[in-house]
């Protein structure tokens, strides 16, 4: 199923809702309403039979919608197309004015799966929804006076409205009446019907009111700005990292507290590095520290739910993507604090003398293609359930701030002299240290978690040596990690002519500085081409288009025209990356040239698996180089695209020079890669080496392989590969490692899981899923099939388990909220 009219229209729906009495005008009545919605009463009401005939009529009308719709579509001048309206986002502008924004799409009858709505959600299921994130269409806004001060759409009802018709529904004893009013210039016409379908959650849970405020009392953080202060249950995140050689050990402590006057469950969706091997989870309640247990994900979820219902303080950590996690903490009583500590290991990236350590701070707002439901939805604070996705991130509006801040410290022990150190996005305090050690702290002036912390440090010499790190596990098993640096000689060789394909993400999330950065980089790239190269420029958002019918020779005129083409590109629309993949890989390969495909994108999509599987299927002889653009790009996607595409990844932050990053890329591809690598382990007995296929080596860019070994490493390790028609060799001495690397077992297991996950994208996943789960359980590792759960069985909180409060986060620095979250300005 697909939407065949991309230019979504905007419908403005007036739903003046008459709440009982002067509900919203009265603070106390609002409190009462809040209590009803947040507490157990709502749960009871939700399960009670619907008594009002009006609501039953409204629901029943869903049975005969097709016939009427067909008539209306013809009348509306849209033959054979069906109109669908997403759940309207509602904003209270003032006490008497509520603004509704809704996304509208048409779907061709012949192409439609008649059992589903335009957004791929089956009809007849509870929770039917037309998710607005599927469209993010430009939305006109109108202010509509409502007679009640507070507007709430019935949470269960499907409202089928014709212009001028009235609708009435009941929920939790609250009377909802709505009337569709047509405004000039807005859809629908008087002959069309609009369906407004609100998602119903299938999980039994307390429902928050409005902006996730349980009850009426809250302790607000005091902030210097004039911005609206939003109480959140996450006060602070503290990050403490230590780096030894190229392995980082990171402790993250999230400090939760309940600022409300009712018991809550805190829910926080947050990022970690995509290669983080998370193997420790500790919950601190008061002075008591409780280690979490790794369990099968479903089992952990079940334990957590049971503990929550029993009134126990409990916590659950699940993985939504390799770099996106959800933390839940249940039964936090008013004023109480609970800390969650997560420990992980990961390897650092190294590039031309510079190591890079990254701590991501916020999940960027993702675009999910129409029909998807397992993506990561972006919703405004208080907009729970409106994205239609299994995981949602709630974002603060631009004029909102929470008191959540972050502190961060990194201790670097490079082992060799550190020549330079810099932070790309943040202000840091760089303490003095010895030549090989530094301690870096995030400045307290830069503690808003809205961009990745990126620390780069340059070590002495132009290049590092290939090296082997080893660790003997408690069970006697040996683990190793080996960094293979390319041989010096390939830097002296010149490259073949190339067929360079630049692919630019022009979706709404790239609007502004990110796309300007990317355009500057492409312009530099175009001007760096040689006369016997060919090139193409492809842009994509909702669809893809390109500079020429086919790659053109890199003549001065063609480059001039292409630069103009690039200059005129702008951000807007969705992120249908699959269209960009097809356009970049679905045409015959030029045997005379090496094809390089460079993707410049923030990677804000929720369907990473689909994209990676498409790359696997279509790659052929192409190499993919991904450039993550912006302050918080999707590094998991960027890294995997490059890995799967036999290329490399680079990042273009808002503070980087696009020209410099592209120059660096051209320097790398100006020399041939060392391909078809083969490793002779000498006297070392190795097994389970990952990745199974060792990536090609580019100038200045080492690769890391991890594995297990038995016995004592001996002899010399020889890595050979092809440079054109020559054979080149790298030799590594296994006796030079004298460090202690306790994280190597976890790093190895995490790498093996990543390799299996990659394979699962194009293979049957059943058996692989079992293997991943077994490995993750054995090594106490987070994965998509395992979760950490911790329960304080001695705690006993009173009453119901309270309201779920999500921790809203700021949009990443440089990303437009209206474009990416509310969809009101063209994403």
């Amino acid at each position: 199923m697909r939407l065949n009219k991309k230019n979504r229209t905007v419908a403005l729906i007036a739903l003046p809702v008459f709440l009982t009495g002067a509900l919203a005008a009265s603070y106390f009545l609002a409190c009462a309403q809040s209590d009803r919605a947040a507490g157990p009463q709502i749960e009871s009401a939700r399960e009670a039979p619907v008594e009002k005939q009006e609501l039953q009529d409204s629901m029943a009308s869903a049975d005969d919608w097709r016939r009427d719709d067909a008539e209306d579509e013809i009348a509306a001048g849209q033959p054979n197309r069906r109109l669908q309206v997403g759940t309207p986002a509602q904003t209270q502008l003032d006490g008497n004015t509520t603004q509704y924004d809704a996304d509208v799409g048409y779907i061709a009858e012949g192409e439609a799966d008649e059992s589903k709505d335009a957004f791929g959600v089956p009809f007849g299921q509870p929770g039917l929804v037309a998710p607005p994130v599927a469209t993010r269409a430009p939305a006109a806004r109108k202010s509509i006076p409502s007679r009640g001060g507070r507007v709430e759409l019935n949470s269960r009802a499907a409202a089928r409205l014709r212009a001028g018709a009235q609708w009435q529904g009941f929920d939790g004893g609250v009377d909802h009446r709505a009337q569709l009013t047509r405004y000039p210039g807005a859809l629908p016409s008087e002959d069309e019907e609009l369906w407004i379908i609100q998602r119903v959650t299938t999980e039994r849970r307390a429902k928050p009111v409005g902006d996730d405020h349980p009850g009426c009392g809250a302790l607000l953080a005091k902030l210097p700005q004039q911005d609206k202060q939003v109480p959140v249950p996450l006060e602070h995140t503290d990050v403490n990292a230590s780096i030894s050689a190229y392995i980082a050990t990171v402790d993250v402590t999230q400090k939760y507290a309940n600022p409300f006057d009712r018991k809550i469950e805190a829910v926080y969706v947050f990022p970690l590095p995509q290669n983080a091997a998370i193997n420790e989870f500790i919950m601190t309640v008061g002075e008591r520290k409780i280690r979490g247990i790794i369990r099968d994900r479903d089992e952990a979820q079940q334990i957590y739910n049971q503990a929550k219902r029993a009134g126990k303080v409990a916590s659950l950590l699940t993985q939504e993507r390799p770099n996106v996690f959800t933390q839940k903490v249940a039964n936090i009583e008013p004023g109480k604090k609970i800390d969650i500590n997560i420990k992980y290991f990961h390897t650092l990236a190294y590039d031309d003398g510079w190591y890079e350590w990254v701590f991501p701070m916020v999940v960027g707002p993702r675009f999910n293609p129409p029909g998807s439901t397992d993506g990561i939805g972006a919703v405004p604070r208080g907009g729970r359930g409106t994205s239609g996705q299994s995981t949602e991130v709630a974002y603060l509006a631009p004029n909102e701030r929470s008191g959540h801040d972050i502190s961060l410290q990194v201790a670097v022990n490079a082992g060799v002299s550190i020549e330079r150190i810099k932070s790309v996005n943040h202000v840091i305090e760089n303490s003095a240290g010895s030549g090989t050690e530094r301690i870096v702290k995030l400045s307290s002036r830069d503690s808003i978690p809205n961009k990745d912390f990126v620390l780069r440090y340059k070590v002495a010499g132009d290049r590092i040596k290939s090296a082997l790190l080893t660790h003997q596990g408690d069970d006697g098993a040996g683990y190793f990690s080996m960094m293979i640096y390319p041989p010096e000689e390939i830097g002296r060789l010149s490259r073949q002519p190339v067929e360079m394909i630049f692919v630019l993400d022009c979706s709404g999330s790239m609007r502004g500085k990110p796309i300007e950065q990317a355009k500057a980089a492409i312009t530099r790239g175009l001007r760096s081409l040689q006369a016997n190269d060919t090139f193409q420029v492809i842009r994509f958002s909702n669809n893809a288009s390109q500079f020429g019918d086919r790659p053109v020779i890199a003549s001065r005129e063609n480059i001039r025209d292409a630069v103009r083409y690039v200059e005129n590109l702008d951000g807007g629309g969705g992120t249908m990356m699959i269209e960009g993949i097809k356009a970049a890989l679905d045409f015959p390969h030029d045997d005379e040239r090496l094809r390089f495909v460079t993707f410049l994108t923030d990677g804000f999509i929720g369907n990473e698996s689909q994209i990676l599987a498409a790359i696997h299927d279509k790659l052929d002889a192409s190499r993919i180089f991904s450039f993550g653009v912006g302050s918080s790009p999707n590094r998991f996607l960027m890294n995997r695209m490059a890995k799967m595409g036999n290329g490399a990844v680079a990042y273009l932050s808002l503070n980087d020079s696009g020209a410099d990053v592209m120059d660096h890329f051209f320097e790398r591809i100006s020399h041939p890669a060392l391909t078809d690598l083969n490793i002779d382990w000498g006297g070392m007995q190795v097994s389970d080496v990952y990745p199974e296929r060792v990536p090609d080596l580019f100038v200045g860019r080492p690769v890391i392989v991890t594995g297990r070994y038995s016995g004592i490493p001996s002899g010399r390790i020889r890595v050979t590969g092809n440079v054109g028609d020559r054979i080149s060799e790298v030799v590594i001495n296994p006796h030079e490692d004298r460090g202690a690397h306790e994280g190597l077992a976890a790093v190895w297991a995490r790498t093996k899981i990543a390799d299996m996950v990659d394979r699962s994208m194009w293979q049957q996943t059943g058996d692989i899923a079992t293997q991943i789960k077994q490995l993750a359980l054995d090594y106490s590792l987070m994965s998509q099939f395992t979760a950490f759960v911790a329960v304080d069985s001695l705690s006993q909180t009173a009453g119901d388990f309270g309201t779920s409060v999500r921790v809203p986060v700021p949009t990443p620095d440089g990303v437009d909220y209206d474009t990416t979250v509310t969809g009101s300005s063209g994403s």
Binding site: I293, A307, V789, V791
Partner: protein, 157 residues
């Protein structure tokens, strides 16, 4: 200090705990509609006059009536800062809980001290039958010491 847990002395302390616990099966409580409760057990080691610097203990519920849902740190300062580690492979594959910890503190506990607290989920109507096996206890120098291990239902916080 690593030597503290590198030295092995087998000391067995086997005990059966009869309590008002309910049976858990492999598929969890909900499938049997069994009542679910969360209870805690304090794990003690009595090292007599010796200082306790490290230990490893194997805990098994013969009745398979419980499921560990958290491992809490000990009471003495030397073991209060970080909860003991558990062996995930043994827990995952054999259902036993193997705990281990060591301390580098100047002051180490003597006599009977709570070294850990297990938070358990229990369900059903069959009593649990716990067995404790103190695999090793060592002093500050990593030398084996004679000690015994016991477990009792936890009270209060």
């Amino acid at each position: 200090m690593i030597q503290r847990i590198a030295t092995f002395v087998l000391i067995c302390g086997t005990l059966a705990l009869s309590s008002v616990l309910a049976r858990a099966d492999d598929h969890g409580c909900e499938q049997n509609n069994a009542p679910v409760r969360f209870v805690a057990y304090d794990i003690f080691i009595d090292a007599g006059n010796a200082e306790l610097g490290a230990y490893q203990i194997d805990i098994h519920d013969n009745a398979r009536a419980s499921k560990v849902v958290g491992v809490e740190a000990g009471a003495h300062e030397a073991f209060a800062d970080k909860p003991p580690y558990y062996d995930p492979k043994v827990l995952n594959n054999e259902g036993r809980i193997v705990l281990a910890a060591y301390s580098t503190a100047e002051e180490l506990p003597t006599g009977k001290t709570r070294v850990a607290r297990l938070h358990m989920q229990v369900c059903g109507d069959v009593d649990a039958d716990f067995e404790l096996d103190l695999i090793v206890a060592a002093d500050a120098d990593g030398q084996p010491i004679t000690a015994t291990a016991t477990a009792t239902p936890a009270e209060g916080k």
